[in-house]
C-alpha cells in the first residue's frame, strides 16, 4: 500500500496534474454555483475536454476536481440565495440560508467549507483502507459473479430510489439497458435494433445521453420556471469569515460522526449524497440537546455542518464501488465510468494491479482537491459569488450552447445534436412525471458490460449451468430480487394495514 501511495504522490504532484486539480476545482465551483446546474451536468460538459487530454490520470483528476468543486459551489448557492443547485445540498440550505439572512453568510460559508473539507478528507482516508481490501476480494470473482454483482448494483439503485419510486426506477434501468443494446456491439459483430438508421449503427453516444438526461432538462426547468434562477437577489456582502472557538467545538463531533456515516451510505449503490445529507441532518437533530434542537432550521452551525460533511464523505464513498468493482453507484460516478472507458481504462479490481498510478493518483488528488477548496476557494468566494449576478438571459443560452457543443465535439456529427434535442425533450417529460433519470444512464453504461459478462458465463458453462455451479452467483441474484421486491412488498403491506385501520373506524 505504501508503494501505491508513493506512486500516487509522484503522479498527483506533477505540474500538469496539480494544474488539473486547481483548474477543475475552480471550474467546478464556478459552474456549480449557477442555480440549476448540478455536478452531473458539469461533468458531462467537461468530458470532451477531459478525453482530449489523453492521459487517463490527468483526465480523471480533472473530472474529480470538477466534481468536488461543483458540490462546494452548490452549497454556496444554497447558503447565499437559497437555490440549491443539486438535491444533495438541499439540506444545507435549511440552516445555511437562515444564517446568511442574519448577516452571517461569511461564517456559514466557513463552516460549510470546513465541514466539506473534513468530510472529504476522512472519506478519502476510509477509501484508502476500504478500496484495496474490497479489490482483493473482487479479484476472486469470475464473469458469472460479475454479472450477478452488476445485477445487484442495478437493483439496489432501484431499491433505494425512495417510496413509490421503485417500479419507476426499475423501468428506467431496464430502458437504459435496452438502449445499450442498440448498435453494433463488439460481442456479435452485427448491428442490432438500428432500424436501418445509419446514425444508430454505433449506438447512442454516452455523452449525448448524459447531456440529454441531465443538462438539458435542468436548463429547460430554468426556462420554464424563472423563480428557480433568482440570481442577483440576496447576494449581499460576504464578510467576516471567522468562526468562534465555541462553534468549532460544537461542530467537531458532528463532523466526525457524519463523515463516517456519510461515507458508509455513499458506498451503497444508489443511496448517495442526497440521502446521506438528509439522514445526517436528521440524526444530528435527534441527538442534539433540547435547546440546540430549537436552533435547527433557524441557523444552527451544527445543522449546517452535518449535511455538508455527510454529502462530501458520501461523494468520496461513491468512488469505492467505481474503483474496485467498476460498478457506479450514482449518476455522477456513472458518467466518470463512461469517461474512463472512453480513455481505454477499465475500472475494476484489476485497476489497482494493472494501473496503480491511476488509482492512487485519484485518491491523492482527493486530498489535494479538498485542500485547494479550503485554502484557495474560501478566500475567493466573495468574488466567485459575483457569478450569481449573471443575468438569466445570458446564462441560459450559454448553458444550452455548451450542452450542444459537448455532444458535438464528442461525435463530430450534426445528427447527434438532433438526437440530443429529441432525447432531451423525452427526459424533460420523464422528469415532469417524477421518473428518476440517473438509473437510465447507469443502466446504459453498465449494459454492455452486463451483457459481455453474461455471454462469457453462458459460453463457459454452455448455457445457464453457471447459475447452478456457482453458489455465489445464485446468492447474489437472489439478493438482487430481494432488494427489489422487499420495499414494495413492505410498502404495500403497510398501506393495506393503514386502509384496514381506516375502514374499521
Amino acid at each position: 500500500m505504501l508503494d501505491g501511495i508513493l506512486i500516487g504522490l509522484g503522479t498527483a504532484f506533477s505540474l500538469t496534474n496539480l494544474l488539473m486539480v486547481i483548474g477543475g476545482c475552480l471550474i467546478g465551483t464556478f459552474i456549480g454555483m449557477l442555480p440549476g446546474l448540478g455536478p452531473m451536468s458539469i461533468i458531462a460538459i467537461m468530458i470532451p475536454v477531459a478525453i482530449s487530454i489523453g492521459d487517463p490520470s490527468a483526465a480523471l483528476i480533472l473530472l474529480a476536481g470538477v466534481y468536488y468543486g461543483a458540490i462546494f459551489g452548490g452549497s454556496t448557492s444554497s447558503i447565499l440565495i437559497n437555490a440549491p443547485g443539486v438535491a444533495s445540498t438541499v439540506a444545507t440550505s435549511f440552516d445555511g440560508y437562515p444564517l446568511a439572512r442574519q448577516g452571517k453568510a461569511g461564517k456559514a460559508l466557513t463552516v460549510a467549507a470546513i465541514a466539506s473539507f473534513s468530510g472529504g478528507t476522512i472519506g478519502a482516508i476510509l477509501l484508502m483502507i476500504f478500496a484495496p481490501a474490497l479489490a482483493t476480494v473482487a479479484l476472486l470473482f469470475h464473469s458469472a459473479e460479475y454479472f450477478a454483482l452488476m445485477v445487484v448494483g442495478l437493483s439496489a439503485i432501484a431499491a433505494f430510489a425512495g417510496s413509490g419510486q421503485v417500479g419507476k426506477a426499475l423501468l428506467m434501468t431496464l430502458l437504459g439497458l435496452i438502449m445499450a443494446t442498440v448498435g453494433e456491439g463488439a460481442l456479435f459483430n452485427m448491428p442490432r435494433f438500428t432500424m436501418g438508421i445509419m446514425d444508430l449503427q454505433s449506438g447512442f453516444g454516452f455523452i449525448t445521453l448524459a447531456m440529454a438526461m441531465f443538462a438539458l432538462p435542468e436548463a429547460m426547468y430554468l426556462v420554464l420556471d424563472p423563480s428557480r434562477s433568482n440570481s442577483g437577489s440576496g447576494s449581499g456582502e460576504i464578510k467576516d469569515l471567522r468562526i468562534t472557538r465555541e462553534e468549532a467545538r460544537a461542530i467537531t463531533p458532528v463532523i466526525g460522526r457524519q463523515s463516517v456515516q456519510g461515507f458508509l451510505i455513499g458506498v451503497l449503490p444508489g443511496a448517495g449524497a442526497t440521502i446521506a445529507s438528509f439522514l445526517g441532518y436528521a440524526v444530528e437533530r435527534n441527538i442534539a440537546s433540547k435547546e440546540e434542537q430549537e436552533q435547527f432550521g433557524k441557523g444552527s452551525v451544527k445543522g449546517l455542518a452535518a449535511p455538508e460533511s455527510a454529502n462530501n464523505a458520501a461523494c468520496t464513498g461513491s468512488f469505492v464501488p467505481l474503483l474496485t468493482l467498476g460498478i457506479p453507484g450514482s449518476g455522477t460516478t456513472a458518467i466518470l465510468l463512461g469517461a474512463l472507458i472512453a480513455l481505454n481504462v477499465s475500472p475494476g479490481p484489476r485497476l489497482m494491479v494493472d494501473e496503480p498510478q491511476i488509482f492512487w493518483a485519484v485518491i491523492i488528488s482527493m486530498y489535494l482537491g479538498n485542500l485547494i477548496l479550503l485554502i484557495l476557494n474560501l478566500p475567493l468566494i466573495p468574488y466567485i459569488a459575483k457569478v450569481l449576478a449573471v443575468p438569466r438571459n445570458y446564462l441560459i443560452p450559454f448553458i444550452l450552447f455548451f450542452t450542444l457543443m459537448g455532444a458535438y465535439i464528442g461525435q463530430n456529427n450534426a445528427t447527434e445534436l438532433l438526437i440530443l434535442v429529441g432525447l432531451g425533450i423525452c427526459a424533460t417529460v420523464l422528469r415532469f412525471a417524477d421518473y428518476p433519470l440517473a438509473p437510465l444512464l447507469i443502466g446504459f453504461i453498465l449494459g454492455a458490460m452486463l451483457e459481455n459478462n453474461f455471454a462469457r458465463s453462458m459460453q463457459l458453462y454452455d448455457g445457464l449451468g453457471f447459475l447452478l455451479e456457482r453458489p455465489m452467483t445464485v446468492g447474489l441474484l437472489a439478493l438482487a430480487v430481494l432488494l427489489v421486491v422487499l420495499p414494495s412488498y413492505r410498502a404495500r403491506r403497510a398501506r393495506l394495514r393503514a386502509e384496514g385501520a381506516a375502514d374499521a373506524d
Binding site: 419510486q165 423501468l171 450552447f401 438532433l418 415532469f432 412525471a433 459460453q459
Partner: protein, 164 residues
C-alpha cells in the same frame, strides 16, 4: 390517468416492439455457425424485453402508490401553461435549427446567431451588448476547440470555405 402512467404505457409499447424484434426478427438472420453458440445476439434482448414489459405493467397498473405531495423543487406539469412554455419550446426549436445549420452556415455565424436569438427569446433587448458578447464567446470557444483541443470546426459558411 396521471402522466406517469401514460408514460409507462408509451414505454410498454416501445418494449413490446423491441421484444417483437428480439423474439421474431433477429434469429432468422443468424449465420449457421453461430447457432451452436449457447448465447445468441437476441438472448439478452429477449430477457430484457420480458423484464421491461413486466416493470412497465407494474407502473402502468399503479401497484405502487407514488408520493402524493409534489416536491417543492419540482414543476407541476398539470399547470404547464403557467410556466414559460412558449420560451422553452422556442429554445428547443432554436437548438434543432442550430443542429441543422451548424455545418452549412459554419460554426461562427451559427453560434453567434444561436446565442443572440436565445437571449432575445428570453427577453433580452440590449443588442449592442448582446452581439459583441455572443461574437466574443463564439470566437473564444472556436479557438479553444480548434487550436487547443485540436478538433476541426469549420468556422465559416460552407460556400466560403469551399471557394464557391
Amino acid at each position: 390517468m396521471a402522466l406517469d402512467r401514460w408514460i409507462a404505457l408509451v414505454i410498454l409499447m416501445i418494449c413490446l416492439a423491441y421484444g417483437y424484434a428480439a423474439f421474431f426478427t433477429m434469429d432468422a438472420a443468424l449465420p449457421p455457425f453461430m447457432r451452436h453458440n449457447p448465447i445468441w445476439p437476441s438472448t439478452f434482448p429477449k430477457i430484457l424485453s420480458v423484464m421491461a414489459v413486466l416493470a412497465a405493467l407494474f407502473v402502468l397498473l399503479g401497484f405502487e402508490k407514488g408520493a402524493e405531495d409534489p416536491k417543492p423543487m419540482d414543476i407541476n406539469y398539470r399547470r404547464l401553461t403557467d410556466y414559460k412554455l412558449g420560451q422553452a419550446l422556442a429554445l428547443l426549436a432554436l437548438m434543432a435549427a442550430y443542429a441543422l445549420l451548424l455545418r452549412p452556415a459554419g460554426f461562427l455565424p451559427a453560434t453567434v446567431g444561436f446565442l443572440a436569438a436565445g437571449a432575445c427569446i428570453l427577453g433580452e433587448r440590449k443588442l449592442h451588448i448582446l452581439l459583441p458578447v455572443a461574437a466574443l464567446a463564439a470566437g473564444v470557444v472556436w479557438y479553444l476547440v480548434q487550436e487547443v483541443l485540436g478538433i476541426f470546426l469549420s468556422p465559416w459558411p460552407a460556400i466560403v470555405m469551399n471557394g464557391g
